[in-house]
Symmetry: C2
Subunit: 341 residues, 2 copies
Amino acid sequence: MEVSNKYVVVKHHIQDAPEESDFEIKSRALILSVDSGSNDVIVKNLYISIDPYQINRMKSNDPSQTSISFAAPITPGEAIDGVAIGKVLVASDNGKFQKDDLVMGVFTWAEYSLVKEESIIKKLEPSEFPLTYHLGVLAYAGFFEVCKPQKGENVFVSAACGAVGNLVGQYAKLLGCYVVGCAGSQDKVTLLKDKLGFDDAFNYKEEKDLTSILARYFPNGIDVYFDNVGGEMLEAAVANMNTFGRVSICGVISQYTDAEKRSSPNMLNVVYNRINIRGFLAADFMNVFPDFIAKTSAYLQTGRLHVIEDVSSGVESIPSAFVGIFNGNNVGKKIVKVAEE
Amino acid sequence: MEVSNKYVVVKHHIQDAPEESDFEIKSRALILSVDSGSNDVIVKNLYISIDPYQINRMKSNDPSQTSISFAAPITPGEAIDGVAIGKVLVASDNGKFQKDDLVMGVFTWAEYSLVKEESIIKKLEPSEFPLTYHLGVLAYAGFFEVCKPQKGENVFVSAACGAVGNLVGQYAKLLGCYVVGCAGSQDKVTLLKDKLGFDDAFNYKEEKDLTSILARYFPNGIDVYFDNVGGEMLEAAVANMNTFGRVSICGVISQYTDAEKRSSPNMLNVVYNRINIRGFLAADFMNVFPDFIAKTSAYLQTGRLHVIEDVSSGVESIPSAFVGIFNGNNVGKKIVKVAEE
């Protein structure tokens, strides 16, 4: 049996902010069978996670210089891989995954993904836990495992209406922290304060002196900074950190479309205040997945956690979805729904 | 009884590199008694540690914005405090320290120090362990406790002929690491390779592209970077770090005399390689003091560790000693000997 498989490619390398015209939707026949003895599986994609870091892979000279498979350069004209949730359509014959298993993994910006079993990060148990919410593990692991927050601490979150930031802020509130977020519009600020329960929030686009504004929102200093943006915001946060403050570097979106926009945090502050700055990937924390599901389920059931998703439909919507996250169009997690569960 | 007490002051705030003419030697009578019921003690200084961080305290606008007592701003015309080793000359009457106790603490750039008992960091046991070597605890704690090195890892040390760097490199070799250091002259490079047993060393002043030179010395990447300098060297090291690499920020000497010289490490590397960048102060690790003494004593007794000190004599020599460390004049730990033990 054979299906037609729509997928997304970049036409050429992208150096700055992406535009929809940089992308192309292609289609190719896919035979729904895998080689006997191989580890190949075919996944029917349900939800594709649209993540800003992918832009780095589209550059001609990937600045991350990494050997991490899912961060490897993307070749123009070829299928793009990324984190997604899908259903096993054709299993390999080694029996590790079965047909119809729900799985999260590194699949393809496409309707169907032909991948190695190793690309499956996790089998998802059928549960009350909505499928797309599994993508929140990055926020959970980054906040609890990297930031090691304590009740009562002062937490600052940038890109606080983004996929990761909004969850981090909510987890922080639920832990009993004082939480301030920044975002790029007044609507987002209102959402953070009125719906998501942040203690305060501000629109960074309206502020000139980020160090002063943070000093105003944090008269007692910042204990934890969850950084999604890098650049001047990271400098301002470091200048306001308390002794033994922790900075987790989840993303550097200010630098993704402008390689010159490096952050220069004052290392004197880092020494005197014994600040710990740490980068991380969700993949390192799959051991906390059960905790994440348990705690998050409980919060959802009692209505104490809001999951903010921004969902568009169909493979054709992937380019505009991706371009949009660099313009701040999305509110919450940007997801493309490819097929019905 | 009364003595004449020579001490050093800065005449005015210092913004850039210090010069000897910025300092003045003063003298004042000191009555050798302390108020009954107070915590005051009088210490006869034996050795004064000359440390680059002090320059930050001499600026009109201390950039470290810290509330740490020993890093607080220095007022022109007034006595300067700093880490030193001395002997209790007059004890307070609360009995915590006795006359003739050997002590390490935050004393004064002077012959005698009238300080609170709280300024004494540690009572030193009379032992075979040379007094000045106690100042090496910063290197020991920073390397073992902050960098958490493993045998076989690749370690890079900047300012490797400096007070801290030379010890870190030697501890790393003794642990079984591959160790490369950088320094500012060919003589220092020779010392590192021929006497201190570094696997390799280079003169950073002769290199244009620090990222490339580090890639050459570390074809398998850097696991641990012990940073004493900040600036471009920190950027180059971060670009060469391995996955889960650790950077300990001990000092930022490149920035001390040029506030514009900030470091802009690529945060994309920090994320993808899950790099941990951490500032520290020796004061946080006084719990490892016994380990430090035990391990270091053993190494010294078997001749496996060289203690490189650069000692000048007398309070009058403090200004030139201090100015010299910014010119790279010192080899190893810079100490001013104020009195005979």
